[in-house]
Amino acid sequence: MNTLLLEIAVVVLGIVLLLVEAYSNRANKNYLAYTGAAGLFGVLVLSFFPMHAPAAGSPSAAFITHDVLSVFFVRFTLIATIVTLLMIPGYRPVLERYLPAERAGGGVGEFAILPLFVCAGLMWMVSSIDFIMIFVSLELATITLYILATYLRQNAASLEAGTKFLILGALSTGFIVYGISWIFGTTGTTNLLALPAAIQRLPESALTPLLFGIAMVLVALSFKISAFPFQFWVPDVYQGAPTPVTSYLSVASKAAGFVVLIRLLVVLGTVPVISHKLHAVITLLAALTLIFGNFAAIPQTNMKRLLGYSSVAHAGYLLMAVASLGSKMAIPAIGFYLAGYLAMTMLAFVVLTVVSEVTGGDEISRFNGLGRRSPLLAGAMLLASASLAGIPFTAGFIGKLLIFEVAINQGHYGLVALGCVTVAAGFYYYFKVIRAMYWQQPAEETPIRVTFTVKLLIALLGAGILAFGIYPAPLLSALR
């Protein structure tokens, strides 16, 4: 089967659902989220059938590849999207509150369908081996995300988030196009695989413009993965965007950014003149991102902002591994870390969605006494926090173990020493949530009811955290 079929199936699913939504009179739009999730699950199953890249002669062969990295992250994107779609029914009251209702349920339906297009964009992005394809798929995903981030159009925070995201996102798009044109201008190719050979042929004087172009692309990718100093949109956008979108943004879109970064660096790693310089830049980025993400997270009082800074912090750990791509365990470590990150971050967001709906806010203090109001939600959040902090027997721990292993292996002792300090800082801000849930008194004692879908998500994501943490071998071997 041609691997392109998967993305096409996702797009077709999205279009069909859009049509169904347009012609259906059902006021309850939850079925769209469930159908979308079921459809994506079908695509996920499909992805386990034997696949191949587009045939060598075909036009798409120059754009799309099919390797372990793309297979892993296509599935990763699908799973992240399924989880996000399943979070949407629980989020419906918020949507209805902030959407002008020309007709019953108006506008709610599309919110569950648009993620499918982001999903298709990200799936293409993780399989692309050409700058043009990277750009196009990135835009498909990002433009859809602009809409989703600003979806609550009668909520000022959401509008602000969407606008910030739009402006900074457009800026980063500018950077990437500009960078690509410099790279194309000097080397005459946009294909990643053809790049090393093209660079070898270049005269030495052409290296500076080429490096400039690469630097511009790195800037744009740093926006995507929220690396310092291009992370300043993260807390605001995370806080204002609808919670399912925030969770999607912090997981799927970040992962796709890392895949592109890895592909680029692996290709350029074969060219010593350039890789040497890039190595120093990435190491610096990793160090700054670690410091900023972890220390700025400490004083946060809003859960979504906390998770935003935490997402910057985790980008720092991931960049540690990206700086160590010389080790053959680096890419499996990154993949594993991201998979664990998916489970723990999305679990935290699932709990947050329920808690903020019940208590009416996103502050950490809204979690006060959750241990008494809902042992299940508190337990799930405890597990997510433990994993985010890197406590053993969770996916977060094995992820950190692997990343520190490759970093020490590659001699990044400075980063490792820094990492120790930031991990300790992480204990503080993740444990703040645990403190709120168990030490503090609840504002009210009424138990919180949890719907079946939320229970299912908690069970699946929680099982993922523990399973990856106790028996990591299968997931790890999927990347080698």
Binding site: A389, P392, F397, E405, F427, Y438, P472, A473, L476
Partner: protein, 481 residues
């Protein structure tokens, strides 16, 4: 039999699950703990000392390509620590007072700490040794934060961040150790590590030993990485302090005996001066700090830090006598400090204060409590008849045998015994003797459950004190012959 060893880890976890789904917390937890103690006793006496080595082995492949497997097994040292852990667990659960809020969470936390230490002691793979130990981090945070007394929040934060950082430094040291093995032979299995070190197949740098010393050291509250321990123990509820000070803290020493001694003999020898300096700090500096404490819980907290100095001194002796003494002292100190914290909790729950200035003459109202405290205090000082004495004597003998470099540390150590006699006797006098204040006259004596749970700790302490061979023979199987 290997199944029994696995069960000792699984039982507390299974009991936690049962409590989560609604079983009676106290009964379920105590049931599991008593069953675990029985299992530990069976294993202790079923261990074949003639054969020695690791027994009751079982293994699961976790990351076979990286040479990481979950391997459980036990030798004499493991089983001694297992016995300590299960004894203290039963005692801690038994002595636990009636819990008002979150009763389930209270017992689940204690069970997790217990399962964590048992798993750590029973693991042959260094990564799991480490991982199991970390299981206790969140339960400790919750225990101190929810049910603690005094400035509990600050204490919980300090302990958690300190231990989190310390154990991450330790993890870095372990990864560095792992990477110093030539590629293709990499493993974290203690047996293979020992063998490779013995045959000279790999030479990890002394830096790694230093990192491990700092990592393990901060978990054991080695001077100057000790400052988390006294406030945490002073503020923690008695059962948590008993488990943490009595058992969990021994993990760092256990790790040094298991990893540093066989793999870094040369580095330990070269850097012994540094370790001795810290040991002197532990005994002398912390000793005097302990003397200046004005409350019983802080006195016991600091004294538990101070006594770690003796165990480190035994390790630093780098000979069989010293290490035997250190191991015996680990067992003895674990029991005696747990007894002291249990009694601390009993006094606090009656009087609401542990301040020496407010207490006095309690022995008139609570004679049995006073008697038991006397026993615990004497054990802690190292009176002959208690295992602490045997351990300390061996440590001093071992240290003296090391050579002239040990003269000062041994003198400091002996002086330390005097210091601990001063503060323990002073505590005993201030609380139980002298004129009794009127408001304490109606105090109820120690309850039956608490009484027996302390006796459960003191009896093995005296058995091992009169017949230390019982423990030493077991410990000896783990040490090079």
């Amino acid at each position: 039999m290997s199944l029994l060893l696995i069960l000792t880890i699984l039982l507390p976890l299974a009991a936690s699950l049962l409590i989560m789904v609604g079983a009676d917390p106290r009964r379920t937890a105590l049931g599991a703990a008593v069953a675990n103690l029985a299992a530990a006793l069976v294993l202790f006496f079923a261990y074949d000392r003639i054969d020695g080595g690791w027994q009751f082995l079982s293994e699961w492949k976790i990351l076979p390509k990286l040479g990481i497997n979950m391997t459980l097994g036990a030798d004499g040292l493991t089983l001694t620590m297992l016995l300590l852990a299960t004894l203290v667990t039963v005692s801690a659960l038994w002595v636990a007072p009636k819990v008002g809020k979150h009763e389930g969470l209270y017992y689940i936390s204690l069970l997790f700490i217990s399962a964590g230490v048992i798993g750590a002691f029973a693991s042959l793979d260094v990564l799991f040794l480490y991982s199991f130990h970390e299981l206790a981090l969140i339960p400790t945070f919750l225990m101190i934060g929810i049910w603690g007394s005094g400035d509990r929040q600050a204490a919980a934060w300090k302990a958690t961040i300190y231990l989190g950082l310390g154990s991450f430094v330790l993890l870095i040291g372990l990864i560095a150790l792992y990477l110093s093995i030539p590629a293709g032979h990499r493993t974290l299995d203690l047996r293979e590590l020992d063998q490779m070190a013995a045959t000279g197949a790999f030479h990890p740098s002394a830096w790694i030993y230093l990192i491990l010393l700092v990592g393990f050291g901060s978990l054991v509250s080695l001077f100057p990485f000790h400052s988390w321990a006294p406030p945490a123990y002073a503020c923690a509820p008695a059962p948590a302090a008993m488990l943490h000070a009595g058992v969990l803290k021994k993990f760092g020493l256990y790790g040094l005996i298991r990893i540093a001694l066989p793999i870094f003999p040369e580095a330990m020898h070269e850097l012994n001066g540094l370790l001795l300096l810290l040991v002197v700090g532990n005994i002398l500096y912390i000793g005097y700090v302990t003397v200046s404490q004005k409350r019983l819980d802080w006195t016991v907290g600091y004294s538990s830090v101070m006594h770690m100095g003796y165990i480190f001194l035994g390790l630093a002796a780098l000979n069989l006598i010293g290490i035997n003494g250190a191991a015996l002292l680990m067992f003895a100190h674990g029991l005696s400090v747990a007894a002291a914290f249990a009694l601390c909790g009993e006094i606090r729950s009656r009087t609401g204060t542990l301040d020496y200035a407010e207490l006095g003459g309690l022995a008139k109202a609570t004679p049995v409590l006073g008697l038991l405290f006397g026993f615990a205090a004497m054990a802690s000082v190292g009176l002959p008849g208690f295992a602490n004495f045997a351990g300390e004597i061996l440590v001093f003998f071992g240290a003296t045998a090391y050579g002239p470099a040990m003269i000062i540390p041994v003198i400091v150590g002996v002086w330390g015994v005097v210091i601990s006699a001063i503060y323990m006797l002073r505590a005993y006098r201030n609380i139980f003797w002298g004129p009794i204040a009127q408001r304490w006259e109606g105090l109820a004596d120690i309850g039956t459950g608490a009484k027996w749970s302390v006796i459960l700790l003191l009896v093995p302490l005296m058995i091992a004190g009169f017949y230390p061979q019982l423990i030493l023979k077991m410990v000896g199987t783990a040490l090079p012959r």
